[in-house]
Amino acid sequence: MKMWSITLAELLKIAAKPRSYIGLAAITIIVSLIHFAMYLDGLNYISFITGPVQTAFSLEGRILNGNLVCFIILQTLIIQIPLLVALVTGDLISGEAAMGTIRLVATRPLSRSTLLMAKFLAGALYVLLLLLWLGLLSLGLGLLLFGPGDLIVLKSEEITILQSEDTLWRFMAALGIAFLSLLVVATFSLLLSCLADNSIGPIISTMAVIILFTIIGTMDIPVFDKIKPFLFTTHMVVWRSMFDRPLPMNQILSSAGILLLHVVFFLSLSVYLFRKKDILS
């Protein structure tokens, strides 16, 4: 059987599960809510976050614009999206084990490696769909409601202002890096899925790991600074570097490389474990 037809079958399985729509629905609701809130009270919010700058300087021009709203949405959702991904990819193997269909699937004339790769590809396509929907909704609706404008990128210790015409390619590249980041989550939850016979375990474990790593990443405690480079969540936020000037290419490439290595490692280990797995259900 061709890989594509197996992947398509796996995609149909994903599409048939109601939980697959939770992510899309959550993104639609959150993005719409943020747009609505920014439309009503965005200027107050912006003046609150730019307050430390506006005491000494005045910012002239259209500060509240579609690019800024899109950026705010992306950085708000970056913590939640992996959880939405894990909801589907953590279920790919363990869900079938829990339902007892894994034995049947494994009897088909295809190798377990091919089956797992097909499930991975289906999961990756789902991730891509989530991201495209997020990008389209946040940037498209943002530009429609607020219009284009220069983008203020706020960091805890600096501000970068990017010209409007310099933002679209950065958003595209950022979504590309975010896709790679979410593939790490997808393969990690797939790996845990290979080890479990029910969906709850891999999904909750993936969420727990991401939350734990994110908390460590958020806290400015010197001992955590030594750990941060070894956490994949540290490299997952490298999409933000696409909005730096000058572009820190070394940092972007090294983080992208580390994320890719994680994907390869988690996927290889998943294949190894799935091939060795005793299917008893």
Binding site: A56, F57, S58, E60, G149, L154, K155, I161, S164, D220
Partner: protein, 231 residues
């Protein structure tokens, strides 16, 4: 002890201590204001180049509009950053001689021009401006440099370069040197997760920032529509 007491008594009864402006200082300010009062309105292109440690922004093109007595507007396609104080504060203050006390505190040579240093102190206790020092080129009646000490934002130094429009006291370039505090906002607000705090040692960061504004294509006294100033 006796000479010190005599000096103290003489200072207490000196003209300066009775909060009166020195006539020479007032005359200088009048001459400077007179030059600027020839401008009923103007508009000009501006190129704003901000050099502030925590801010990364490319030079921004803008158009500035002014109309007497105090209407000022800057319009730019993108986002431009300007110092909050320093644009019109000085002209507003010195427009009415009852609002301030002025005195001359010496002379100084600035870029080859001999200047008279005039100190201006607002009479109002509530004024944000505490003290303005002006370096005035008495030959051309132009302010070449000003130093504004404010309650809210410390000291702002403005260096002016005059060229083709010096007869109207309009500069070709103004360099604002402003005090900058360390910029830090909580990571939770910026969602700036997984980044490490700055490793720059305390005290090593620049304490001032510069905003350089170059003015070109002045259009003076040709009328500026009122709608421009409506936000």
């Amino acid at each position: 002890m006796k000479p010190f007491l005599l000096l103290l008594i003489s200072l207490c009864f000196s003209p300066g201590a009775s909060a009166q402006s020195a006539p020479e200082a007032l005359q200088l300010l009048r001459e400077v204001n007179q030059r600027f009062s020839r401008v009923k309105d103007y508009q000009a292109d501006a190129l704003i180049d901000a050099r502030i440690s925590f801010l990364k922004i490319l030079p921004q093109k803008a158009r500035v509009y002014f109309k007497q007595p105090d209407k000022f507007r800057l319009k730019s396609k993108g986002i431009a950053i300007l110092p909050r104080q320093g644009f019109d504060q000085l002209f507003r203050l010195t427009a009415n001689e009852n609002d301030f006390i002025a005195f001359i505190s010496g002379t100084e040579t600035l870029e080859g021009s001999l200047t008279t240093l005039v100190n201006v102190i607002p009479r109002a206790d509530t004024s944000d401006l505490v003290l303005a020092k002006l370096w005035i080129d008495t030959n051309r009646d132009l302010i070449l440099k000003s130093q504004l000490t404010t309650r809210s934002n410390g000291t702002i130094v403005i260096d002016y370069s005059h060229g083709s429009h010096s007869e109207y006291a309009l500069p070709d370039q103004a360099v604002f040197t402003v005090e900058v505090k360390k910029f830090k906002i909580p990571k939770a607000v910026t969602a700036d997760i997984n980044s490490s705090a700055s490793v720059k040692p305390a005290g090593k960061e620049p304490k001032t920032g510069k905003i350089i504004i170059r003015f070109t294509n002045y259009s003076i006294n040709r009328g500026v529509p009122e709608e421009i100033f409506l936000k």
